[in-house]
Symmetry: D3
Subunit: 291 residues, 6 copies
């Protein structure tokens, strides 16, 4: 195996496919995605290892991995001493941070954390939950929950559980009484690896490419031809913070305009441009956008 | 809930995924596509509701929905009083209208509708079938069929069934003796909603974006560089009804040509352009094409 | 059926989806991909037939098919007399040729082919295996293996089996002692069909479109704006063998640069260009690249 | 086809597997259970046809079928004129009748049917729902619902929906305000078929065998040896309404006792018998029990 | 590995589950049925190996296996020199022999084998097909078919294919013109193994247990109590060739009758016995029946 | 809810189906087995709750549950203070205790636990692993592993993992260097619940019924008729520790023999009895056997 090798942890489970898609969009070919814990990547200087997000930061801290992707929640839960390279927002639809909430059955009399004094809490996030209650000086017992935590809300006194949309809590007739923590995905590195010139540059390159791919996900390229007389009107419709590329055509009455816009801006812009006389409007997908 | 809200019905079942893909291509992010009857969309002014195509026009007529997507067949079957916003051809491969046909077993003696006098017909499209026979003054009994209609062709005297390719009829050894109705997908609106300024504009914007996405599905962007001396020859090869964008390059012996073509034209054009001396020919995918 | 019809065999099994995706990228719409042995394609002059790669070359030689896709290994195994139109490398990740290897259990004393004298070999590739041993003047019995060949390595004396990554052999604790043959995918034609003007041109057009789609898979389009003063520096970063398209902008201090690059070059180029002062760098996907 | 043939409808869907299992336990071999609408049965005098429970009674009334299995609810909904042969309780766990209930969202102000005056009801059971409201002289509009009725409770004013355990209603946060109808499975026959000697006897034989298999499902055979001196004590423990078979053994101090008991009685009896000195207690499964 | 070990081949594929169920009913516990090619069995003197029925007889002949289960068809196709231990009819529903038939498209002009002179036949059963035509002195070319043979009937001139019910041929619109061979499952042994005392006895014991389990599949135990006065009448109803076990009860007016009957006899007997005054009739399942 | 209610934890996951089957065989009907965490059981005095085996003993100790099923390993890992009611061996094939083993890669230089001094161990069984090494006075770091522990053997220095057959370790090329613990399933109770008369009796009854069902799994009932003259010979063949039930028949030359035997004894006995002249030998399945 090459001396110059970056051991990179990929989170197994809910983020796994999103991460592989992001690497693909960033320009890497990964094979054996579903079958192996060591998927192959077409870069000899990177070795991928699939691990659960929950244990990622421990293995990065131990130096078993040079870098990896995990949630802010598990970095805190594991109290890991690592370098945070960047936050990764994946895509607009998953960009909202997840939350760990304290929840009780709808029919429970518990209204606030203090009402749980002396009770039992079931959660996968034991340490962070203990700290939360210690800070509030509330005495509780925290039991580690191996999945299906919502179900336990009626066996013990309350649960601390992850929620993205709140739909699972709702389906179980649970009520949120407080938020313990919010979390997003982080790209983290081992402290020793970060001091290694090769590894640091490799990690930064991956960071640039992934972020360029993330930015491209919610943007499109847009092109149109404009009669020179309409140019000023059309330019006013375009987002102010972006400067479009305007190029002359052989037919000198017209110019071609090209611009990169957010896809929700596109939805608004397309009908407006049509009315303003733009012709041959097309939009096309992007792989990467670098600011 | 916002006052400004469009309640929009999406057809559950065979068109569901095609519709979601179309919305995605039109620039909307939809989540919970498979799990919920109320998928979330990243536009606060739209609420999506999944319903069967069969019942869509009734709920649009009742005002339970402001607008929705369904087949022409079910609008007629339900005799619904609604506004038809536009026809949606989804993509070239599904652009052929579906047909409701009157079919009998291959071994049946029935040759024409009149031979069914006094018989029983099984169909999901009861009302349209009754009207068809009333118009021909043929007396029949129509039984509603809950699926697997082809199987019933040998229990009763004939069936009226939907067919796209005829392959299911063929597999069941059935013979078509007449076509009752042809149908395509329609975007429909409630009459009151259509009088509401906000709702009408919202519906029209959705219609523009979906149609632009549909058009983009079967087109590609094509670029190439041409020596100025070959320009005339190459331009003759291009489809007459489209005007290519021709731009000067820094190297003044060449121009760059860009044009949007149908993908079946592309298949013919690529080898021809290669022979005509075009260099650096590439084609790329499009998200939207607005005429 | 049209007189002008090309009967084209598509390999069923592991290459099936890759082939359909390639045809899609080449601009063909194919339906009924999974359900039928005669998938429909939107070109009336082509009829597709799904057959196993193993038997493809026999049916092409017999004239049952005009052309088809199969592996070099099965052309040799069947000793088929056909025209090889071109090699198809599908995509970079599958571009490595597959190998047929002679393998024995890790614990076996067999070190070289000669040690197998008088033994039994299980394989799916009976004829090529016999030839290999005949050439070496080693006397063995070859039994045809219906799948699960790795398992038989411990029932008989050795196996000859296909390997892409060696992982299946490793999982079964087998050791490779020689390579019998390497193989890639080939587009082949019947000798009579190749003499028919219509069929030959049709086959060549398909070959051009498929290869253009294959080339596009590992390339991206890249655009950026460059201040004229930085142009020389930037041009040096770009791959020497490609000439970028440089066009003037209305803002005369800048030029727009557009270039097609391999996706592994893109991974290296993006950070370098960013540092060299390029602005508005984007990359976008391609459908076809014709040299 | 034989003159002596009983055309028998099997309900497709939720009761399908339970019905096939019952026929198997009754001694019939049925093949092609999942693949065909005409499963084969090893009795040349019976032809099976799979149809939805909803349409069964119509085809039995029309004489398309001689007999069939369906729910009481759909007999009433279709207002079918047929002979009811017997009620079938399948097994203890499914023996509770299903109910069609009138339900509204938890948050609705509707408390009683009268509050729905002038509203819209969505249901699959249109006719029975209309009759229910006509009888109460409440004016409502009933819309036929193609599945997912619970979801519609928040689109219209109320729904009428089937419920076995109430869990689906609960999951959708709905509240029951009345029961429209209760229903169990019925074995029904066409009136003409019931007058045909062969068909009536065939239907009755099937009824005997199915009911014997149903009875056997919740019973077990129990055997034990008892010292003659303990016989009286043990007999008192056994259910009074059953008479055990007592037989002498070669060893004349003991008798063997055999009895058929309900499986919930067995649960109580086994520990009690053990304490009373019974030896060699075993229980074994039964195929049929005929009273 | 024990000296006393029987290597036993189990057919992979369509017979696999039926074979495992039969071994279970015969009293063997087999684990890893789906995951391994070497399923474990709770008898240290047996080693199971999963192989395709097609290649079984070759490996038995070679001595790689001591014994195995396969079809008569593949013994003939492979021309294998083995000992046939017994025929296994598995169960009544699968007891019908399978057939290899010569089939052509419905629309073909071929009426009899002779019409195929000079043509191409596709089949998996190459050798047996060649022998069939050689015997009839018809000159044909036989191409080996890797599955989906029915589909090839329209590519070549005819096919030879396996059929159990004829439904697959029917679905492909094919017509049978002759039967080449009929086949059932056989338990076969290697000739050397058959001379080994330990192996022969082991094979025979397995044969006894499997056949006892097969017999039990279609039989039930039946018990009832009869008043002595009705005994003669009841005995006449019972199958003549079986002698029931009649035992006295403590209550001397009654006797208990026990008898083993075929399950199709049971269907006829149950209603008749009920009418003849038998009380407490029960039937129960059997594991093994030894004649 | 009834005052008299036993809250009973069922282990979710690998033992779940085996446990439900055992309850079914013990005579309980459980529904909603797969869909709900609170499956319904037809005994109003029992409430079932699905929890992971790993957390079961904690919730039993806390009194959240009255009783439950879990492994000995997790009782020790959690250091839970509970009552052990009985060991449950489920069935012969799963009766072997599972083992937690210390394993290293085949290629590792580690030969014994002491070689791991100063290293990292990944395991799901953190506490028991720590105790094991403390006792041996070896200093190691134990990291909790969220699944896929075998994969981590090459990231850290060794793993402690569960093994039933050793096949997963073998597939990952790992070598066992010691056994940390062996474990079987236990029925456990809360200490307070065990002092409650109702709950203790309920728990004991369940224990009796489950054990009777377990015993019945590997036994069969066997019956045969014997001529009185052969009786002595036959009796000698039967297992000495069991006394058969011998009863007179009406035909006084014969007796009927009935005996319960282990299924592996049955495999040996059947051929022997046949040779000894027994007639009408049958074996039948059992639901429960109580000693």
């Amino acid at each position: 195996m090459s001396e110059k090798l970056l051991k990179l942890g990929i989170p197994k489970g809910s983020l796994q496919n999103a991460t592989f898609e992001l690497f693909a969009k960033a320009g890497f070919n990964i094979s054996d995605q579903q079958r192996s814990y060591f998927p192959r990547i077409d870069d000899d200087q990177i070795q991928l290892i699939l691990l659960r997000a929950q244990e990622m930061s421990r293995y990065v801290e131990d130096g078993v991995l040079d870098a990896g992707f995990t949630g802010y929640d598990w970095i805190i839960e594991n109290d890991s001493d690592i370098v945070e390279v960047c936050e990764l927002l994946y895509s607009k639809s998953t960009a909202k941070p997840t939350k760990w909430v304290l929840a009780v059955p709808n029919e429970s009399k518990t209204k606030k954390p203090e009402d749980l004094q002396g009770g039992i809490i079931a959660t996968e996030l034991v340490n962070a939950t203990k700290k939360y209650f210690q800070k509030k000086k509330i005495d509780i017992k925290v039991e580690f929950s191996w999945g299906a935590t919502e179900v336990k809300a009626r066996l013990v006194d309350a649960i601390v559980e992850l929620t993205e949309t709140g739909s699972s809590l709702k389906a179980n007739n649970l009520r949120i009484i407080d938020t313990i923590m919010t979390s997003t995905t982080r790209f983290i590195a081992n402290k020793q690896a970060w001091k290694d010139k090769f590894k640091k540059e490799k990690i930064e390159n991956i960071s640039i490419l992934l972020n360029a791919a993330i930015d491209a996900r919610t943007k499109v390229g847009m092109k149109m031809n404009i009669a020179k007389k309409d140019l000023e009107t059309v330019l006013k419709l375009l987002p102010a913070e972006k400067s479009p590329t305007v190029s002359n055509l052989v037919n000198s009455d017209y110019v071609a305009i090209e611009i990169i816009v957010d896809d929700d801006v596109e939805r608004r812009l397309v009908p407006a441009l049509k009315r303003a006389g733009a012709s041959g409007i097309i939009t096309y997908p992007l792989n990467k956008v670098i600011h």
